[in-house]
Amino acid sequence: MRKCSVRELGRIDYGEALELQRQIADHRKQGAVGDHLLLLEHPHVITLGRNGHMENLLASEEIMTRAGISFYPTDRGGDVTYHGPGQLVGYPILDLRDWKRDVGAYVRAVEQSLIDSLAEFGIAAGRIPKLTGVWVGDRKIAAIGVHLSRWVTSHGFALNVSTDLSYFQYIVPCGLTKPVTSMAQQGVRATLTEVAHVLAGHFGRVFDCEMLFEAPVLTATEREN
């Protein structure tokens, strides 16, 4: 059975996580390391996908700075999104050649692991055709945006656990004017760690790999220091 290392990074700056992803993805492409799933949380940040539209960013930079939100254009798919405390962010770094060479199947599988995890907390979540992500009714609870290079994935998903949803007012999430929700809004009180562990389990089952939890590793900055 394939193995996938799970790294829990705690709260980590978006730029640092990006650099760490890049390093692991580079190593993965060279075959130097195996598959990884990074699980973490970001401070307030708004990111824009490669095909994102600035119009979907509703606040000026000045307003965002005042609200303590940083801004990053990135190379993932998808439009604009918000990350912040209370949101479980997962960055799977997988070589899809070892699984299925199929980006559609990959995105559906990530959605499935989220849907199964939410079901375990008693939340009935599902898909909306053509609108990638995981939805509770017509509210988005998890967003997905992926970058692929030589079949190695990076970026991934963001699941609102106890996110302060008012921060989404600064954007049109993923360019869609649909409401967002969180596990907390659905009446589920759970910590990020609890959700992360449930999710890792379902992720392993969906992707048919054994999840190996690593001891917390140093973030990129800490390593450099």
Partner: protein, 436 residues
């Protein structure tokens, strides 16, 4: 010369959008070096070059969506000058699978001939293509059900160009039977998954049509309009406003106003000012709906719809309630001019909390505008016309304007919308402030 194709990214994926070329034509590229990026359903992928050489020709531009296996570029290998192999030689090389019957005769039994073709090159999309065809030509052929073997190519090496297809269509081309293009492709053994395109819009035989891809702005507008219709429960209320006072003031001041400021005085800043006053009174109209929460916006940022040549844009007057008529007119003139010359900054179209659209300037009496999401109301301004009206049982001539408010009934009820409109009307009908 190596063809670079839109790769197959998965079973369910039939097309991809080419988002970025990482190399320019004429630039050298190594084998496996990232050459371009594509986007498919929230996944952005870097595609490595299949060969080392020089990027000789780019056939698909950034932003275009093409089916998998479409040739997007050609790479000339080391020592092979970019132009050394004219396109004309290609059909000859690929003679076996270029044999006419597969393509030309709609009634030909599709599968067996295809199967007998000795191992076609893997990247050859299907039997439907005989020579180099641009994605646009393929698309036009697909959408119009054209049998391309009947189209005479006038491009380099007999290549079929867009003009050739248009010319053919203009002659009243007999459309091939619909399933033809797809059937042989589906039956062909190798890499023939070019099916799955949405069913083409069909026209009567010989219908004269012109196919033009939607501009980015157009498709964004289309998307936003539909999203708004799906999101909000639109209701429109229409009020008749007597603009006589404002009209007289404007008549009195417009010459001097133009001289002083260099731009003319219109009705729009008065209506914007009145809206700002009413928005302060009824903050629910200056709000957004976020799930189960109402988000009240403290500031009043009014978007003004500006018609462009092939679309529209809604730049925003920030803090509209803090400006007088002069300030509002100046902002409107400035934003509209820069919108038309495409010099708006990104944040100038963001953050609006309410919108106004002035279709009266195009002669419309009344309209039912679509809400600009995530706002909850939009004011439509009709023409200002001298109209006979009854005042105290006497007929008078007044300058009448119809204002229509489309509001989101999820959040705003009719009574509130009409109170808001009554306030706007009151301010305009009782206008006393001088503008000079």
């Amino acid at each position: 010369m190596t063809d670079v194709v839109m790769p197959q990214m998965g079973e369910s994926i039939v097309e991809g959008t080419l988002t970025k070329w990482l190399k320019k034509p004429g630039e050298k590229v190594e084998r496996d070096e990232p050459l371009f990026e594509i986007s498919t359903d929230k996944v952005d992928t870097e595609i490595p070059s299949p060969a080392a050489g020089t990027l000789a020709e780019v056939l698909v531009q950034e932003g275009a969506t093409v089916g998998i296996n479409t040739v997007v570029a050609r790479i000339s290998e080391e020592g092979e000058a970019a132009a050394a192999k004219p396109a004309a030689t290609e059909p000859a090389q690929k003679a076996p699978d270029a044999s006419a019957p597969v393509v030309a005769t709609p009634v030909a039994t599709p599968a067996p001939p295809a199967a007998e073709v000795p191992a076609p090159p893997a990247e050859e999309p299907s039997g439907e293509v005989t020579g180099p065809l641009s994605p646009l030509v393929r698309k036009m052929a697909r959408e119009n059900n054209i049998d391309l073997s009947r189209v005479k190519g006038t491009g380099a090496g007999g290549r079929i160009t867009k003009q050739d297809v248009e010319g053919y269509l203009a002659q009243g081309a007999p459309a091939a039977a619909a399933p033809v293009a797809a059937a042989p492709a589906a039956a062909a053994p190798a890499a023939a998954k070019t099916v799955g395109a949405p069913p083409p819009v069909t026209f009567g035989p010989g219908a004269k049509t012109k196919i033009e891809p939607l501009s980015t702005m157009r498709s964004k507008i289309a998307e936003h309009m539909l999203l708004s219709k799906r999101t909000s429960a639109h209701v429109t209320t229409i009020h008749r406003v007597d603009m006589t006072k404002v009209a007289k003031l404007r008549e009195r001041s417009k010459g001097q106003f133009q001289t002083n400021h260099g731009f003319s005085l219109t009705y729009l800043p008065f209506i914007t000012a009145a809206s700002a006053v009413a928005l302060r009174h009824f903050p629910l109209l200056n709000a957004s709906l976020d799930g189960n929460n109402i988000v009240y916006h403290n500031e009043i940022h009014i978007g003004i719809a500006v018609a462009l040549e092939n679309g529209l844009i809604v730049p925003v007057i920030r803090g509209a309630d803090e400006k007088n008529v002069l300030g509002l007119q100046r902002a409107i003139v400035d934003l509209a001019a820069r919108a038309r010359s495409r010099q708006l900054k990104a944040d100038e179209v963001l953050g609006g909390t309410f919108s106004i659209t002035n279709f009266g300037s195009f002669g419309s009496l009344v309209g039912t505008p679509i809400i600009n999401q995530p706002q909850v109301a939009i004011l439509g301004v009709g023409t200002v016309d001298k109209t006979p009206v009854v005042i105290d049982d006497a007929i008078a001539i007044r300058s009448i304007c119809h204002l229509s408010l489309s509001f989101d009934h999820r959040l705003i009820d009719g009574a509130l919308a009409d109170q808001f409109m009554t306030k706007v009307k009151q301010v305009l009908e009782g206008w006393a402030e001088e503008v000079l």
